[in-house]
Symmetry: C2
Subunit: 301 residues, 2 copies
């Protein structure tokens, strides 16, 4: 998985800090997660081949998470896009976008497919042979979901020496990579695990923003490789976090620890702070494997 942070600051876009948006590349997909104002310029700046985006996931309808969406949709139209575009987001998002297209008399020349979310339980919202996407119900001032991206187990790898040794016809090799037992040239059944080993470990990524500390997301995101969890504030502003339904860096780290994730990425920083080091230091007191999101940073895992 390759994650490009386009913006990881809260509230208003500024000259050097952008509101929330990320691109996750996995198994041939390019998933766009949130789309604050200026996202299309960030995509250009970081040389993301954004015509490849086919699925956009919007966490909630606060402006710093979706004000760039209508512009991106309209740019795709100007670039004469033909591929379908799927938008996953809270109920109301379709009305916002279509109202603006109607008043501009500018309908897209490609198919725009809205998947409006209303459930308060985690649900599977996208699936193909290689990837699943589930919602992670969060607790913010308005209806909000995080998103869990899970690769499916890949093909098993052949242990070539063992396969040849077992006298298996080459026609069965594909069955073996799919995990099946096969019958060899001598009519003997060969157990799959004796001649193959597991393929690449399927990776997972959880995006949780915006939310206050919410322990019941732990079972959903347990053991994910990378968790992005918002940390708008430091503990010194815990009272503001509580009032505005955001999290502190320490709270993000507590969730990471309880969920036993591989790595925690902090983000959605309030622009009131001068630097980001204090966020990392605060989280590290609770959970060791912490990294800071920064606009333009790329994480591969």
């Amino acid at each position: 998985m390759k994650l490009t942070i386009l913006g990881c600051y809260s509230a208003t876009p500024r000259i050097l800090t952008n509101p929330t948006s990320q691109v996750l590349e996995t198994k041939g997909h390019m998933f766009l997660i949130d789309c604050g104002e200026g996202t299309q310029v960030q995509l250009r700046k970081h040389k993301v081949k954004f015509s490849r985006i086919k699925h956009v996931f919007i966490s909630h309808l606060h402006g710093d998470h979706f004000f760039g969406l209508v512009g991106l949709i309209s740019t795709f139209r100007l670039l004469t896009r033909e591929a379908d575009l799927h938008i996953y987001g809270p109920k109301g998002i379709k009305e916002i976008i279509t109202l603006q297209m109607k008043l501009a008399d500018s309908w897209t020349n490609y198919k725009l497919i809205f998947h409006e979310l209303t459930s308060k339980e985690s649900e599977l919202i996208f699936e193909d042979e290689k990837v699943e996407v589930h919602t992670i119900p969060l607790n913010h001032r308005i209806y909000t979901n995080g998103f869990l991206f899970k690769e499916k187990a890949g093909k098993r790898k052949l242990n070539i020496a063992a396969v040849e040794n077992a006298n298996i016809n080459v026609a069965y090799y594909r069955k073996l990579t799919q995990g099946f037992d096969v019958v060899n040239e001598d009519g003997v059944t060969i157990k799959n695990e004796t001649v193959t080993r597991s393929g690449n470990k399927p990776k997972s990524y959880a995006f949780c923003s915006d939310t206050m500390y919410k322990e019941d997301i732990v079972p959903i995101i347990e053991n994910t490789d990378v968790l992005y969890h918002e940390s708008t504030f430091l503990e010194t502003q815990a009272h503001i976090a509580l009032r505005t339904k955001h999290s502190t860096a320490k709270e993000a780290a507590k969730i990471a620890k309880k969920a036993n994730v591989g790595k925690l990425l902090l983000g959605h920083y309030s622009t009131r702070y001068k630097g980001l080091d204090a966020f990392k230091a605060e989280a590290k007191e609770v959970f060791e494997a912490v990294e800071l999101s920064e606009d333009g940073k790329v994480f591969e895992f």
Copy 2:
């Protein structure tokens, strides 16, 4: 008048080119004209004290002219603005903004006053003691207005020597600056123009974008000091200009000439062209006093 070009390119925002937005400062006002995506960052970049904006004029509801408005409104809320904000724009603009505020459950803490425009005739939409703003009905694919900003004539200046010579009591000086005749200490009526001269010449600015060539705007913008007229294309693409209801640089110059304006500013360039020199050259063949708008450029007149 001081005009700051925040963005003067058409269609999609790019790394170095911004969609339409301008700030006009005159007589203590800071008028924002159009507000494409990224305008709030451009305001910061060019150090415009944008909390002073009280009136926003939106020409039409194509995204490159207003997708930045909802973000600016929401930033004003975060900056705890208290002053009223007036929005002038086509019918529908109120629904777009309020729908997004409703779904975000984020109403402004200041008064947002919409003035929705529907008239196809030029109308006076703003007036105080010092300035008037009139619409300029344009011809584009959807309902569009340009805007004419006119300073009112200022106070007359006293010719001090003449006033003293005429034996006028100092109590009447204010009346004289307002243009009235007065009676002097000897009971003689003194004609105003014999003891005063006209004050600063009132300035005017006309913004015309987007529009195809439309000669009947000439009487409205006649003799304005500065005209910004869109020139999306060069004559070599005149057929595209016609089809998309835009103008060429030559057509902009023809309007400037017929209206006898002081200076023509070109803008709203299609991003298909490599440089801007050809726009200026083409317009200059018809009208001499041409300048190119560029993002960040400031014109004082």
